[in-house]
Amino acid sequence: MSTTTLGSHGHEASHAAPHAHTGSFLSTYVFSKDHKVIGIQFLFSTLLWFLVGGLLALAVRWQVAYPWSPMPILGNLFREQGGQISPEFYTMLVTMHATVMIFLVIIPILAGAFGNFLIPLMIGADDMAFPTLNMLSYWFMWPAFIAFGSSFFVQGGAAAAGWTSYAPLSVLTEAAPGSHMGQTLWLIGLTCVGISSMMGSVNYMTTIIQMRAPGMTMFRLPLTIWAMFITAILQAFALPVLTAAGFMQLMDRLLHTGFFIPEGNTVNNALPAMAGGGQALLWQHLFWFYSHPAVYIMILPAMGMVSDIISCFSRKPIFGYKPMVYSIAGIAGLGFVVWGHHMFISGMNPALGMTFMVSTMMIALPSAIKTFNWLGTLWGGKIQFTTPMLFAMSFVSMFIIGGLSGIFMAATPVDIFIHDTYFIVAHFHYVLFAGTAMGVFGAIYFWFPKMFGRMMNEFWGKVHFFLTFVFLNGTFYTMHILGANGFPRRYADHYHLEIFKHLQPLNIVMTWSAICMVASQSIFIANFFYSMFFGPKAGRNPWHANGLEWQAPSPPGHGNFDFQPIVYRGPYEYGSPETTADFYPQTQPPPDERPAGDDAGHGH
């Protein structure tokens, strides 16, 4: 992160290195405009929130397995209730668990942390197009951190209307305890996250379009960058609608407009709080118009990074580069026309449901193409079972499970039964945790040397992988079975219903599995921090990878490159017959060309 390492491996570095950067600590590490620092700031913040979200999940799990029995250890945090989770607290826990995980972990860790860190490095730029804007996009997360974080401590507690915040529950303050200040804070936090993502996304698009190194054509971009690019487009087009909807909900709550409240709505027989005139389903439409594309925002970058990792450790070009690119674009395009699949049972016009069902089925197609191409990449390679590779392969394996369960739900008649049951919970934890989060772990292990200049410990990395992999399946797989029994979501206690009584033992197993899963993350945390300071030094290119980022110093100095990168080929030329090494960096001139630095790279 400091310029002193710049050029330490240096070819051609001599003229770039000497200018030592003399900023204050504040401007170098806190209010830095350097994309790498911002990326790492995002990484640390989101990992911290990941831990918070994980602990919230444990509280949720505890209640589901042992309703009303005081929670050990974590229960000390709410000792005034005797460590017992009350029903209103449970809905808060579920809501905030999902909110934290989605808005403060997965979205910012993908776009914010990895997007920031990787985009300029992988396209050969010295920074983002607008560094100040970039810095602001990080600092706009803080109001959100504060709003979400503080909402636990305000009167009535945090938001408790589910992460989907369905109106009218979220609008009528009389209807739920967390619907007082907590819900307002939730909406404010959401808006800030939105503004942050917005600034990030326009910046990323500009950077990727305009600041690629000579020779880096669009079809020589690593898939990570393609995924980030298309994710940015998704953000740019989908998010404003959520922002608009969020403002409407805020107005409904604060100014008592009536967008989401129909006439004649009563709470507890009381006279209508507002005159209303609106439509409850409108919120759902607007919310999912963003949040369905958002689920792809939450997986596409991981897919991109996994593609890079798989190709690198199969020592083989990615199978079907262009189909991969087109399928990312296809997912994004189709992603805008399927939002209704969350509303099949919502009272939406059933004819609309039919249309959305067909488009939802079709969206499995690009995902299928991607899955098959990953498998194709593995086929005939020389697979190195490094930690990042294990995580990447588990991404593929787990995404298949999560994706296939999506087919059940896309089938409207089946969704009648499984909607709002644990089948859904299983589905999205498979795509989100077992998919994206595993992909993110892989990416952390993969790019850690670039970020901090040191390697993470392989052995403990594998132990971390093994435990996480086993316990995650133990936690989430059986949720499918629960769902098939109609086990409803967001229930503080299921067992007073006759048909769910026999499912408690299964839940106990899952809860203990979840506890072990969270516990095994301590290995990761220890490995992460130990390696940051004491890990073996990584050279520029510890994995023998092709991407531009691996030609820069580790960690890259200010301005990233100590030479002018010129790109001669795509990023996946592993095992090319043109060279003797099994990798072929994008910047390495072909044997019949003059050495880099000339204007040779301009033609394409």
């Binding site: 310029t3 710049l6 003229h15 770039a16 000497p18 200018h19 401007s27 050969g124 730029a125 010295d126 920074d127 607008f130 560094p131 804007l133 917005m198 996304s201 326009v202 910046n203 698009m205 500009t206 379009i209 305009q210 600041m211 690629r212 190194a213 000579p214 020779g215 880096m216 054509t217 669009m218 740019a236 087009f237 404003p240 609608v241 608009a244 403002f247 409407m248 107005m251 100014l255 008592h256 407009t257 009536g258 967008f259 709080a273 507002m274 005159a275 209303g276 005139g277 609106g278 409108l282 607007l286 100095g557 200010h558 301005g559 990233n560 490159f561 030479f563 002018q564 990168p565 301009h602």
Partner: protein, 333 residues
């Protein structure tokens, strides 16, 4: 948008040529060369990208308005909600003028007519301020009539029904209202009242008696009569043709600002919700534009700043564009 010119705009492909732009935070490192995808400056590209997100933002808002409006069983005529399309048309004209002035400012700055450019930007700023001023006037007229959403229940009622009746009675039971009415009945301070106000009190007195004497008329007729006295509306000339009343009829609420009597506007609540939502967010955009224009006046506005004018101009034209749709949708539909 606001900090457009403060952001480091490292012109596409100009990395090598354009060292001057790399301020303190880029000191010293190697200047990289790029292969830009589009023949645009980065700043212009990002403004266009930003505008496309804005399209979606307003699509969300306008779409909401359209579906709610046409789904509503009844929507108020604009004169029922005291909206005047001539004011809207005037504001449209103002925004169109400001669009012209900003584009002329751009041309002027390109040919290095700094003074002219500055004057035109200032003119744009002034026009934008006029727009906001008119908007404020319109808002305050609505607020004065009690046409706005408010908790726990707005003063707008959909129907002259039981709920409306009890709201009227509640209001009449309010100590302040009841007190003033009683004072009038007792003849206290009557001398200080104008003729109009005396008439108003007499009407209020009638209302007070009528609503406490149930089923004299059918409640619908009775309450409609009440509402009509509280906030009269000009009758429509025909079902779609609208004749704008030049002199607004005065109602009891206009006469007595303290009265705040509820009234009936069919569809009025949702109308108020959407009207303030759309115009509010548009006005916010105008305001941001004005701030940027204000900052621009501090610049030299020669050819070197032309891109700043161009980018703000793009934003400003977009704001104009939104209004081009809002005007007919809100005032003429």
């Amino acid at each position: 948008m606001a900090d457009q010119h403060t952001l480091h705009d490292r012109g596409a492909g100009a990395a090598v040529l354009d060292n001057s732009d790399h301020g303190d935070d880029h000191g010293g490192h190697l200047q990289l060369e790029y292969h830009p995808g589009l023949p645009l400056k980065n700043s212009k590209l990002i403004v266009w990208l930003f505008l496309s997100t804005e399209i979606m933002f307003f699509a969300g808002l306008i779409g909401t308005y359209i579906v709610l409006r046409f789904g509503a069983p009844v929507w108020p005529q604009i004169h029922e909600v005291h909206l005047d399309e001539r004011i809207g048309a005037f504001n449209t004209f103002v925004l169109i003028c400001s669009s012209v002035t900003i584009v002329l400012a751009l041309e002027a700055s390109k040919v290095n007519k700094r003074g002219q450019a500055k004057a035109l930007v200032a003119l744009t700023l002034a026009l934008g301020a006029v727009f906001l001023g008119v908007k404020m006037y319109e808002y305050s007229a609505k607020f004065a009539h009690g046409i706005y959403p408010i908790s726990p229940h707005s003063q707008i009622y959909e129907k002259p029904d039981y709920y409306y009746g009890s709201a009227v009675r509640d209001r009449l039971n309010d100590p302040e209202v009841a007190g003033r009415l009683n004072d009038f009945r007792k003849g206290k301070d009557v001398a200080d009242l104008t003729e109009e106000q005396r008439r108003g009190f007499r009407e209020l007195d009638e209302i007070d008696k009528a609503v406490r004497e149930p089923r004299k008329n059918g409640p619908v007729d009775l309450y409609l009569g009440v509402s009509e006295k509280v906030l009269p509306t000009e009758e429509e000339a025909s079902s779609s043709g609208r004749v704008a009343p030049l002199k607004k009829p005065e109602g009891l609420n206009d006469l007595f600002p303290w009265l705040k009597m509820p009234f009936v506007i069919a569809g009025g609540n949702l109308w108020a919700s959407t009207y303030f939502l759309l115009t509010g967010f548009h006005a916010l955009h105008v305001l941001i534009g004005l701030i940027v224009f204000g900052l621009m006046l501090l610049m030299r506005l020669g050819p070197e700043d032309a891109h700043v004018i161009e980018n703000t101009g793009l934003y400003w034209h977009f704001v104009d564009l939104v209004w081009i749709f809002l005007f007919p949708l809100l005032y003429l539909f």
